[in-house]
């Protein structure tokens, strides 16, 4: 544009540059922490395996007991923890940015409730015990619920405002829990089967789950990360964002799509894991501020670190048995979260 603007020298901005460098460094540290958590998740368990032997088992699958444990149990579990954690962290950050609500949670779109209902239906009415059927049922349930929430939330002329979506999600979640409970009451065996899915667990899922859901999660993650700048512009208010050239409707629709794909596949793979999607972005914002270009990737990396840590803790505290991951995340996460909120460091969106 040829607007005459008073020429100002391009200043070196040491502080800003340093801040950006610091944040990039933080991302590297987080990536390192993720690698460390993955290594620990491969080594630690009911039976500890030294890292050297873990590597041996991976490189030379010799059929030894340890190699089998690593290959068949810990590798799938660890990879699942990474993709599920990353999906939930990013979905949570997107949800909080879209609704401009620092306490929004991806489950508010009805995803968890829909997934649970679909799984309970499968357990009750299909005579199957293969986990892949559960997975796809959960995914379909999550997507169906989200579409329903979107339809209800955007009914009428005002369209799909964040507030209306959240309300519709809360209402439909309640409906789904009631339906889920209803089906379980009719059939005690269903209740038993469902209990395990419901607490959220990384254990006893095989690599096939990761292989099938992975592409969805990857697509959701790419889409989500690309929304950072329009979300930044919309954070200035609807009018200011639109005046900068953002289309709020498109950004919201794409954001909701990314959330549903991410959270739906995470829930399908591991059952509902509460809390991660709520707390991680919240913590991240108190670390890096409100810039979504940092908040999104930080949440993507921090959440799997915490999820793996919780999963490892669950294996250690109850040896030789274990605590379900979903229980540990809530137990460990809640006090930390409360502490952060009380410290008042956590910024609003």
């Amino acid at each position: 544009m040829s607007t005459p603007v008073r020429e100002a020298p391009v200043r070196k901005e040491p502080v800003r540059a340093a801040a950006a460098l610091g944040r990039a460094g933080g991302l590297l540290i987080l990536a390192g922490a993720l690698v460390a958590a993955m290594a620990a998740s491969l080594a630690i368990g009911a039976e500890n395996i030294p890292l050297g032997r873990v590597v041996d088992g991976l490189l030379h699958p010799d059929g030894s007991r340890e190699a089998l444990i690593v290959q068949d149990l810990r590798v799938p579990r660890t990879l699942l923890g990474v993709v599920v954690g990353a999906s939930l962290g990013l979905a949570g950050a997107l949800m909080q940015a879209l609704t401009r609500n620092p306490l929004a949670e991806p489950g508010l779109l009805g995803v968890n409730g829909g997934a649970a209902f679909a799984v309970v239906l499968v357990i009750a009415f299909l005579d199957t015990r293969t986990s892949l059927v559960y997975v796809w049922a959960a995914f379909a349930g999550a997507a169906g619920a989200a579409v329903l929430v979107y339809a209800v939330g955007s009914y009428g002329r005002a369209g799909a405002t964040p507030g209306r979506l959240v309300l519709a999600g809360a209402a439909l979640n309640a409906v789904f829990s009631a339906l889920t409970a209803g089906v379980m009451l009719l059939d005690p065996r269903t209740f038993d089967g469902f209990r395990f899915w419901q607490v959220g667990s990384l254990a006893s899922r095989d690599l096939e789950v990761v292989a099938q859901l992975g592409p969805f999660m990857l697509a959701g993650a790419v889409l989500g990360l690309l929304l950072a700048r329009p979300l930044n512009a919309l954070a200035l208010g609807e009018d200011a964002g639109r005046a900068l050239g953002v289309s709020p409707a498109r950004t919201r629709a794409l954001g909701a799509l990314a959330i549903v794909v991410l959270c739906g596949s995470a829930t399908a793979a591991a059952g509902p894991i509460w809390f991660l999607g709520l707390a991680v972005p919240f913590m991240v914002r108190s670390l890096v501020g409100p810039d979504q270009r940092w908040v999104l990737p930080y949440s993507l990396l921090l959440a799997p670190v915490l999820l793996l840590a919780a999963d490892i803790a669950g294996r250690v505290v109850a040896r030789p048995g274990e605590l379900e991951t979903g229980i540990v995340t809530a137990f460990v996460g809640a006090p930390v979260f409360i502490w952060m909120v009380r410290r008042g460091k956590a910024p609003k969106q």
Binding site: M1, A8, V10, R16, D239, A243, G245, P347
Partner: protein, 267 residues
């Protein structure tokens, strides 16, 4: 023809029709000020001019083309808007906020350039917040914050800037400071359209004044040509006298002292 023109606008929110048959022409290179009582449709008009509100009838033209047919980002490179109530994200720094004004120039494969860096530095320099670049916006005074928001719109580098009540909530010194700044931006060649509440400020700074009431334009032109006691009475329902401002020579509105009349009536 002027770059920003509105013809036969019917502006409405769902049920409520705010204006009908409204025509506005923003003279190129002017400092246009819109005045009128609360709720008369000033913000609504500004939103229509910025492509934020789809008129029920009529159209806004930017550079001769209907504005609604033009891509949002391309409009955003020519028309900037400072809304009446923008949201400051918690914990954002001045430089980061101003940098968000560069959104219309960024694409998937062209994220942040030297050009963006230059525009942001120039915008902060122009409003005098360079020293505050790394401060958190929430912690600034109201006047500083308003200058930071102006810098955001400046960083957008649009030849036309729309400002909705840029001085509301500021004390008198900061109001003048912000208006002097606007006046300088205008002299540098931009077209400014501002909604102001203070009639005297409007008369002092506007090169083109638009007086609205109930969704209609009651009068428009140079302040010294159109501002009369009769106009003020008609637009605001306020009896007054108009004198020449001893400082600038522009019209100065002095409200009639109705307390005298009231007391006289009671006697």
């Amino acid at each position: 023809m002027n770059r920003l023109v509105a013809r036969d606008l019917t502006l409405a929110y769902e049920q409520r029709v705010v204006a009908e048959g409204l025509g506005v022409e923003v003279p190129d290179g002017s400092f246009t000020v819109i005045v009128g009582p609360n709720g008369c449709g000033k913000s609504t008009l500004l939103r229509a001019l910025a492509r934020l509100l789809k008129p029920r009838e009529g159209a806004v033209f930017l550079d001769g083309e209907p504005i609604l047919g033009q891509p949002a980002k391309q409009v955003a490179r020519r028309v900037g808007l400072l809304p009446q109530q923008p949201v400051t994200p918690d914990g954002i720094t001045v430089a980061d906020l101003v940098a968000r004004g560069r959104y219309p120039y960024q694409r998937l494969l062209r994220q942040w350039s030297r050009e963006d860096e230059r525009a942001v530095a120039a915008a902060m320099e122009a409003v005098g917040v360079t020293e505050l670049a790394d401060r958190v916006v929430d912690e600034l005074s109201g006047g500083q914050r308003q200058r930071v928001w102006l810098a955001l719109v400046l960083a957008q580098e649009t030849p036309i800037m729309l400002l909705d009540e840029p001085t509301t909530f500021l004390d008198i010194a900061h109001q003048i400071e912000v208006l002097d700044l606007c006046s300088r931006l205008h002299e540098e060649g931009r077209t400014l359209v501002a909604v102001l509440h203070d009639l005297n400020h409007a008369c002092r700074y506007a090169t083109h004044l638009i007086a609205m009431r109930g969704g209609e334009i009651v009068a428009q032109g140079r302040p010294s040509d159109i501002v009369t006691a009769e106009l003020v009475e008609r637009v605001f329902g306020l009896p007054c006298r108009i004198i020449d401002c001893p400082e600038t020579g522009t019209p100065l509105v002095v409200p009639a002292d109705r307390r005298k009349a009231l007391t006289a009536g009671m006697l």
